[in-house]
């Protein structure tokens, strides 16, 4: 049974890549928005840009994965094709994981493009192993977060609007543009409840922007966030079809 589920996760993700990766909401929120932000920061202050790269890579993961979840889940909820998947002899969790993996792959492609371009253009030093170890759980965390919020609503635009709440909250609180260490204590505590903080810190360490911190802790915390988002998402999806 688990083999069937694993195989189906792969087929669903593959189908989503072919079907949805060029949909307008995926391009606008998952590609155009992060690229526009990155360019805006670069043009405003090219000399300080290196410091911002880890935060902007983290923001790219956040936007690309969540944008894709809104497309792969909400388009199918609206058209009824998600029901078709649920009628197949696979578990609901496998269907959901297939959708999450679709977001992870899209996020990976976007993040890889931004990271490689930044490293080549700016000549950054990279610890590739650390970077991969922080990026992979991060992609799953934010794809799962996207899935959790997307199953709450039906339409893609509703999902994108709902997703903007945690997206912008995390952009401003998690050290993407403003260092967490410089924040007032209350906001600092809040920042460490949010997963993007750990992604930003992990990427900072991988790119040598900071030399303090604990990348193992960041990876473990991110791994812990995955089930925190996936289990309620599966419950909510099951409830939607109850």
């Amino acid at each position: 049974m688990w083999k069937d589920n694993l195989r189906s996760i792969y087929y669903i993700a593959l189908k989503d890549m072919r079907t949805y990766y060029l949909k307008a909401p995926a391009i606008s929120w998952g590609i155009v928005f992060p690229v526009a932000w990155i360019l805006a920061f670069y043009l405003r202050s090219p000399q300080d840009f290196k410091e911002l790269v880890p935060g902007l890579i983290a923001m790219t993961i956040l936007f690309s994965t969540t944008a894709m979840e809104a497309v792969v889940i909400n388009l199918e909820l609206r058209l009824g094709s998600l029901e078709r998947l649920l009628l197949a002899p696979i578990s609901l969790s496998a269907v959901l994981l297939g959708k999450i993996v679709g977001g992870v792959i899209f996020g990976f492609m976007m993040t890889a493009a931004i990271t490689v371009s930044s490293v080549l253009v700016l000549g950054l030093q990279v610890n590739i192993l650390h970077l991969v170890l922080i990026l992979i759980p991060s992609l799953f965390v934010f794809s799962s977060l996207g899935a959790l919020l997307c199953v709450l609503v039906k339409e893609v635009f509703e999902a994108q609007t709902l997703l903007n709440l945690p997206r912008f909250l995390m952009i401003f609180l998690c050290g993407v543009v403003y260092p967490v260490s410089a924040m007032p204590p209350v906001l600092k505590h809040l920042a460490y409840v949010l997963p993007l903080t750990y992604t930003v810190e992990g990427v900072q360490q991988s790119l040598g922007s900071v030399h303090s911190g604990n990348i193992i802790r960041d990876i473990l915390v991110l791994l812990a966030f995955i089930p925190i988002f996936i289990f309620p998402a599966a419950k909510l999806l099951a409830k939607k079809f109850a």
Partner: protein
């Protein structure tokens, strides 16, 4: 987990509440292997809710059901390997071609690698879609979309096929083609569970029909038995050549005829019995030296049975979802 038996579906006390209201209210029925079983009822009667429970898309509030011997609460994933579902909406993927859609569904149903494309092409040929195999789903006509949706449900050669309002929105030609196909599938051994609100369709296709009204089964029997339950005044229809202008008045004076109405080129006569009506018609024809172009005894239709047995307004039955 699996119980053996000759029933494809066994349902006992199946109930579904939405917001405290019973959409399906403690229904019991059995569907035999190889049978075409019709679930007939107006919109909102609970047909689709029942299918959703039997196919594992939603959980019952109460009651039990076995599908192909598997309990729907504990073994539905195993049952899904052996049944196919054609939902009311043709919900394949617009961006994929006809062939890609079928291959994707074949992947989900564990059809081995080398057989996926072969089986998909076989079904495309069966449904006359071979020429359109590389067309995107979005580019197909409504009838073709419906046909492809049915093909997708047949990829794994299911023993049981759930069809939810299969002909809704189809033109006459495609609806007829689809009905023939359902018959053909049944002749090949598949059990068919069909929901419809088209009375004639149920009459034509089904071995037995359950009529569902407001979540409860009000009657379950063969189409012929349902029609025989109708209280019916014996009637005959006739057309003479030529049809005299005073035929209605003159026929009304014949012995055994209670009343007459004109229906297009024919007249319908109601009386004590069909033999008496026939005798009156032939007597009148020979008196007036008229040729009888058409004569038929009128039997109750499924519409008559439905209206009498359920008390539901026929117009409510014929309104499609969305109020059309």
């Amino acid at each position: 987990m699996k119980k053996d038996g000759a029933n494809a579906i066994s349902v006992s006390g199946l109930t579904k509440y939405y917001d405290g209201l019973a959409a399906v209210d403690s229904i019991d029925f059995e569907v035999k292997e190889g049978e075409v079983f019709g679930f007939l009822g107006p919109n909102g009667a609970g047909k689709t809710t029942t299918i959703r429970m039997l196919t594992g898309l939603s959980q019952p509030s109460d009651g039990t059901a076995q599908v192909l011997g598997y309990d729907i609460r504990t073994g539905i994933t195993f049952a899904k390997r052996e049944f196919g579902v054609v939902p009311e909406v043709s919900n394949l993927y617009d961006e994929l071609t006809a062939l890609e859609n079928l291959v994707f569904m074949a992947q989900l149903y564990r059809i081995p690698g080398d057989q996926k494309i072969k089986r998909a092409e076989e079904l495309l040929s069966t449904f006359g879609l071979s020429q359109r195999k590389d067309s995107r789903f979005s580019a197909l006509s409504r009838g073709m979309k419906r046909a492809l949706t049915i093909a997708a449900a047949l990829l794994h050669k299911p023993r049981l096929l759930f069809l939810d309002e299969p002909t809704v929105g189809l033109d006459v030609v495609n609806a007829r083609l689809l009905r023939s196909l359902i018959r053909e599938l049944n002749h090949q051994g598949a059990t068919i569970f069909l929901t419809t609100h088209y009375l004639e369709e149920a009459d034509f296709l089904c071995d037995r029909i359950a009529i569902l009204v407001r979540g409860s089964i009000v009657v379950l029997d063969t189409p012929d038995n349902l029609k025989q339950m109708v209280k019916w005044e014996p009637a005959c229809e006739v057309r003479f050549i030529p049809m005299p202008e005073k035929a209605i008045i003159e026929l009304g004076r014949q012995k055994g005829i209670h009343r007459i109405e004109k229906l297009g080129d024919n007249v319908r006569l109601y009386g004590e019995s069909v033999p008496l009506l026939t005798e009156a018609i032939f007597n009148y024809g020979s008196q007036k030296e008229l040729e009888i172009a058409f004569i038929n005894s009128v039997r109750p239709t499924m519409e008559d049975a439905f209206v009498q047995l359920t008390g539901v307004n026929l117009e409510a039955m014929l309104v499609e979802k969305g109020g059309r």
